[in-house]
Symmetry: none
């Protein structure tokens, strides 16, 4: 379990396992918070927080003075889905290759469709990225994602925007991607990537499709290089050598 912090989540997941295993059925009452706390050797506070977690997932209802009652079981279907996503876990470099092809051309098309409001939004996102970087929030890529998706949105084509959202969804579902980032100790690359984003925005602002495409291509190329450096090429799942970059000749003719 990666939650060294978030003790309540650990207990919450344990409780969910008990629900799944049928230890407590729907309609039944869970043991008192005090007993659960004792069983897991934590304070009642933590148990209460864990129960809140289950409550927010509509698995239990809590009745003051009465007890905690089971009203639902963890979604088996969903968890199987999650497993499926985990099973055919995409290699980061295969994903990057696809993104390099798709996103660079989306950037080019966006350059031809972009309007003032889009540029203002992109600037705001960039500023946000800058702030988060200064605050040292290096494990948060939400602004990064927002930037890329905002570019797709600038095409005014909802299919393209949906495609990109889908790609980022796949990224966040990738175990190896997380592992790679955890391995990174030198965080200077985030500044480099921010600089990449600025270059992309510059090209979009002047509606220069060709430059925008190349800037996006180069950005993803840089990301790839960084990930290559921190990768363990001995890992049997390592796919860095299987998926080469999209050739410049194909992207930029």
């Amino acid at each position: 379990m990666l939650t060294v912090n978030r003790l309540y989540q650990e207990i919450g997941n344990e409780l969910k396992s008990l629900l799944k295993s049928g230890t407590y059925k729907i309609g039944e009452r869970l043991p008192p918070e005090r007993d659960i706390a004792e069983a897991f050797n934590v304070s009642r506070t933590v148990v209460r927080e864990a129960l809140i977690m289950l409550e927010l997932e509509n698995l239990v209802v809590v009745k003051k003075g009465s007890g905690v009652y089971v009203i639902g079981l963890p979604d088996e279907v969903l968890s199987e889905k999650d497993k499926k996503i985990e099973e055919d876990d995409l290699g980061p470099f295969e994903l990057l290759q696809a993104r390099q092809l798709i996103e660079s051309n989306i950037a080019a098309f966006a350059a031809s469709q972009i309007v003032k409001a889009d540029i203002i939004e992109l600037r705001a996102i960039l500023e946000q990225e800058r702030q988060m970087l200064e605050q040292g929030m290096l494990d948060d890529y939400s602004a990064d994602e927002m930037f890329h998706i905002a570019i797709a949105r600038a095409t005014k084509n909802s299919v393209l925007e949906g495609l990109l959202a889908d790609l980022w969804q796949k990224r966040s579902a990738s175990k190896m991607w997380d592992q790679l980032h955890n391995r990174i100790t030198d965080h200077s690359y985030r500044k480099k990537w921010l600089y990449d984003h600025e270059k992309i925005l510059q090209a979009l602002q002047v509606k220069d499709a060709k430059t925008a495409r190349h800037a996006m291509w180069q950005h993803l190329e840089n990301v790839k290089q960084t990930l290559m450096e921190v990768s363990d090429s001995e890992d049997p799942n390592f796919d860095g050598y299987l998926f080469e970059s999209i050739p410049v000749a194909i992207v930029n003719q």
Copy 2:
């Protein structure tokens, strides 16, 4: 508010309102738990539980000794957008525009990655298309779909293949698309499209990325023209004038 009990949910919703209103933006830090508690006249415990609620919705991250940071905004804008994308029946021309951008570049990349087995498969699919055309099976587009997806598969990148399968899935889910095809009386266009496919395959066989890209672009352009001709531009859902073709200048530089 129905939560006479569940005080934490009340506070949690208040906090979410503050996020929505922009009082705290993404990347910013919330006030210390103690201050929030004082502001709402509740104990820190309640505030902590409320924050757990936000944390489980991926709106904030909690860092011990540091603070609580905003990483997302309550689904309102985003979820509405998502729903729009999912619920709204995609207009055929919006989908075509996306395909024109994506597929032409996939074709170009496929040209650089294609191997003998792929070419054999594509030839077989083309032959199948030809037979079905002769047998007058004009409302069957399965071979058409196979051809396009087989090209994506030739890139050897499963993400790209999945992306294209997704696009065709969207196509078959589009009501307007069906309506359009039902309206077609002159079926000579299917021969023209088969000819387009042959041109694409020719370019792929000689690994000519640029020609493959342009052939795919032209093919989808022809499809668009045909659909335009049979469209009822008075239909309030008609989107033919909303989504122009991907400029040749962007696809073929």
